[in-house]
């Protein structure tokens, strides 16, 4: 098989696992993502940090034994901050990120089709502006990683990050168990939660 065929086949299979995990964790729900950004639902942070910690452990091993090269992006602070702020605003209003938009389409959320179309137009608009933005805002920068700054091997920093995240997650889980954030229809919609006590106040007959 050509490398392109391998790429497409592995992409579909990996994407299916990714989409399956996004759906099972419920993190793709607009209720979870908007809830996280309103600091009242913590499932997104839990999925996100678990995946970061796992990736760090995996890469500590693969890189530590020399199986892979790291692929960090260049540090472009102005672009990272400006782009990150715009991206974050979009995530809050979409109730999705670029990957979870596809999971929302997969389960039949119709507004996600508009998010996808807006995303394609946004990516094309950026492409037209890219030659100018590259000169005026984005520029160039070094592929910096924290362990290079500290002068220690990557695997040590990656394992330290994973341990730190694990401790943080244990603490967050203790304060807010994940089942409390699911909502009655596992979509992060807290409305039912607050209406239940009210209905119980009504007389039984």
């Amino acid at each position: 098989m050509s490398s392109v065929a391998v790429g497409i086949l592995s992409g579909v299979l990996m994407g299916m696992v990714f989409g399956f995990a996004l759906e099972k964790s419920r993190v793709f729900e607009p209720g979870m993502i908007v809830g996280q950004m309103q600091l009242r639902n913590w499932i997104m942070l839990k999925v996100f940090l678990s995946a970061v910690a796992t990736g760090a452990v995996v890469l500590a091993i693969l890189h530590g034994f020399g199986f892979v090269k790291l692929q960090p992006k260049a540090a472009l602070y102005a672009a990272d901050i400006v782009g990150g702020l715009i991206l974050g605003a979009g995530i809050a209003l979409a109730g999705a990120c670029p990957g979870t938009t596809l999971a929302q389409i997969g389960v039949g959320y119709r507004d996600a089709i508009f998010t996808l179309l807006g995303g394609l137009v946004g990516a094309v608009a950026f492409s037209y502006a890219q030659p100018w933005l590259a000169r005026s805002l984005i520029g160039t920068g070094p592929k910096l990683i924290f362990t290079d700054l500290a002068g220690i091997p990557y695997w040590q920093g990656a394992l330290a990050l994973a341990v730190t995240i694990a401790v943080i997650l244990v603490l967050i889980e203790r304060l807010r168990p994940w089942r409390d954030d699911l909502g009655a229809d596992v979509d992060g919609n807290g409305a039912e939660k607050t209406s239940q006590p009210r209905s119980r106040l009504a007389p039984a007959e």
């Binding site: 839990k46 970061v52 782009g83 991206l87 809050a92 933005l133 979509d187």
Partner: protein
């Protein structure tokens, strides 16, 4: 943690997602990411109408029919398929629009929600392409690699998201 469950622990799902870095690095020699695929697909479609777009180096790099570009397009298609399969196995049924939007936007109007979603998608990808990555590329992959720039981008992403959700959206 059965495939027929409606919800898994966020930790189990997160670990499964993190493990996807193994095939990404070993097979494609890249890290998980999603937002580049929007450039690939958007530019190929727009190129049919305006071929001059394809002359921009940045675009040419993203539409080259190589394993990495097509892998990411296949990945996002796979995400939709995987979510669909998961939903069917668990029997979860979703309304056409999440019930949270009526409260978040202060209106049950579908047209309003579609307009906001389109604008949000535009912002999301315009921002992600300026920052050169999204929640996957900068978030999952960049932070796992201890990238300094990705950590700055993720902090900005959450700052922008939290400010927008608290100021522009109503409490869900």
């Amino acid at each position: 943690m059965s495939p027929f469950d409606k919800a898994w622990s966020p930790y189990a799902a997160g670990i499964l997602i993190g493990l996807l870095q193994i095939p990404a690095f070993l097979i494609i020699e890249t890290a998980l990411g999603a937002s580049s695929s929007y450039v690939t697909v958007g530019a190929v479609i727009t190129g049919l109408v305006d071929p001059s777009l394809l002359n921009i180096d940045y675009v040419a790099k993203h539409i080259a029919a190589n394993a990495k570009n097509l892998w990411q397009v296949a990945l996002v298609v796979g995400i939709a398929l995987g979510a669909f399969v998961s939903m069917k196995l668990s029997g979860a049924v979703r309304a056409p629009i999440s019930p949270i939007w009526t409260r978040a936007l202060g209106s049950p109007s579908r047209g309003l929600r579609y307009a906001v979603a389109f604008a949000a998608g535009f912002l999301m990808l315009f921002g992600a392409r300026i920052a050169d990555g999204c929640t996957s590329g900068h978030g999952l992959s960049g932070m796992a690699q201890l990238s300094v720039g990705s950590t700055v981008a993720v902090a900005a992403m959450f700052a922008g998201g939290i400010a927008t959700a608290l100021l522009l959206l109503r409490r869900i």
